[in-house]
């Protein structure tokens, strides 16, 4: 492989999106468009001749390395790509707060966790674990979040009442109503 071809391979691999020819020219200021095109076809040739599991594909937006179609099934079967991912600690904590305090607004969650939670809320919402369930009273009528059926499914619970009781924990996470010693 020529040095430029090697660079191209690394760049296309790392970018993981279709890369336009213009962008590829940025890899080597000394290289002409013809040289880059030649390198691209050398790479295509190497992959083809060597019987590789990947190939260089030209798409509308540029060039991209993709796995060959005939490998897709085995990869899916081995569940290498779509693996269940553990939720991050941040996501877990946020989910716990919403689980116990719902309906609850962002400000309250941030107060408890001590960090901004926009990103985490979006992630949990995209995963369908929480949803907007209403709007609060205060300024700007903030969105209130609650957990979804998918949340219960995920934990294998029939209903929210099956969540472990937080009696042993500090008052902070209990709904306020429960805090005034059993009235």
């Amino acid at each position: 492989m020529q040095p430029l071809t090697k660079l191209l391979e690394a760049a296309l691999f790392a970018a993981a999106r279709p890369v336009a020819l213009d962008e590829l020219l940025g890899l080597d200021p000394g290289a002409t468009e013809e040289e880059v095109r030649a390198a691209l076809s050398e790479l295509q040739g190497v992959y083809h001749a060597g019987g590789h599991g990947v190939e260089v594909v030209e798409l509308a937006e540029g060039f991209q390395i993709l796995t060959r179609r005939e490998c897709a099934e085995a990869i899916a079967q081995a569940q290498l790509v779509q693996r269940p991912r553990r939720l991050s600690v941040a996501a877990m904590e946020t989910l716990a707060i919403i689980g116990y305090r719902q309906p609850v607004g962002r400000a309250e969650i941030e107060e408890i966790r001590g960090v901004a939670v926009d990103g985490v809320l979006r992630l949990l919402q995209e995963r369908g674990l929480i949803d907007v369930v209403g709007r609060g009273e205060g300024l700007g009528r903030p969105l209130l979040y609650g957990t979804t059926l998918a949340f219960l499914e995920l934990l294998g619970l029939k209903s929210l009442s099956e969540l472990p009781r937080l009696e042993d924990l500090s008052v902070a996470l209990k709904p306020l109503a429960d805090q005034a010693v059993g009235e």
Partner: protein
């Protein structure tokens, strides 16, 4: 001293130049090629004080704590040593132990930074935006993990509260007054009524503390007919109050 001079730069930036008081101390020691095991403590203590002043680190508790610690050792070193040298324990021993331990960590850190730098020069395949239906692989969560997360949060709370300015401090005096006023007019009142429509957490705690204190003094009686039932507060009779 080749310390970054920057009296005009903000405090936060200065904090980032050293990862802590031990880092600064080690910097001073290395700069002067001093043996850690035989630190001229008087000189180093003075330099440390001067440095945190210049770097404006003297606003950070940890640096002040170290400064005080160094001064204490300096004083101990000035005390006359007992004639029996065997009995004398070098006041610097603990500091030396900590510095050596810290120096070792720093050596590992240098190694780790180098490794991380090398690793950062090798790119993995970028994470591809997958088609929407594949975007979210099933998440793995168990009730246990959720409870652990909740516990962790609780763990973190008291630590944070220490640094927070509480705008509405507990008002047990006010609560005591209120309870006494109510009981002057009525013989009994329910706790829920006393707390009102939407009590804040500080209201609740203030009232509870006031009640417990009043009950201890025998000024009020507390009763609860059945478990989780309403809590009744009654005016203590003169006899009981005595």
């Amino acid at each position: 001293m080749a310390l970054p001079t920057a009296a005009d730069r903000p405090f936060v930036i200065q904090l980032e130049e050293f990862s802590g008081p031990l880092d600064l101390l080690l910097h001073l020691i290395r700069e002067q090629e001093i043996e850690i095991t035989d630190i001229p403590i008087g000189r180093i203590a003075d330099q440390f004080l001067a440095a945190i002043h210049v770097l404006r680190l003297n606003q950070a508790a940890e640096y002040l704590e170290m400064a005080a610690y160094l001064l204490r050792i300096k004083i101990l070193m000035l005390l006359p040593q007992p004639l029996d040298a065997e009995e004398w324990e070098d006041p610097r021993a603990e500091l030396v132990r900590r510095l050596l331990e810290y120096e070792q960590i720093r050596e590992v850190v240098d190694w780790m930074l180098r490794r991380a730098g090398e690793r950062a020069d090798r790119f993995p395949r970028g994470v591809v935006p997958e088609p929407p239906e594949l975007l979210l692989p099933p998440a793995e969560v168990s009730v246990d993990q959720l409870l652990q997360a909740a516990e962790r949060l609780v763990e973190l709370l008291p630590a944070r509260v220490m640094h927070r300015v509480v705008p509405r401090p507990l008002d047990t005096e006010g609560a005591t007054q209120r309870i006494q006023e109510v009981l002057r007019e009525r013989e009994r009142v329910e706790l829920a009524e006393l707390l009102g429509e939407r009590p804040t957490i500080t209201d609740i705690i203030s009232v509870l503390i006031a009640l417990l204190e009043l009950a201890r003094l025998g000024a009020v009686g507390l009763s609860q007919a059945d478990g989780f039932g309403p809590i009744l507060i009654t005016r203590a009779t003169a006899h009981e109050a005595a």
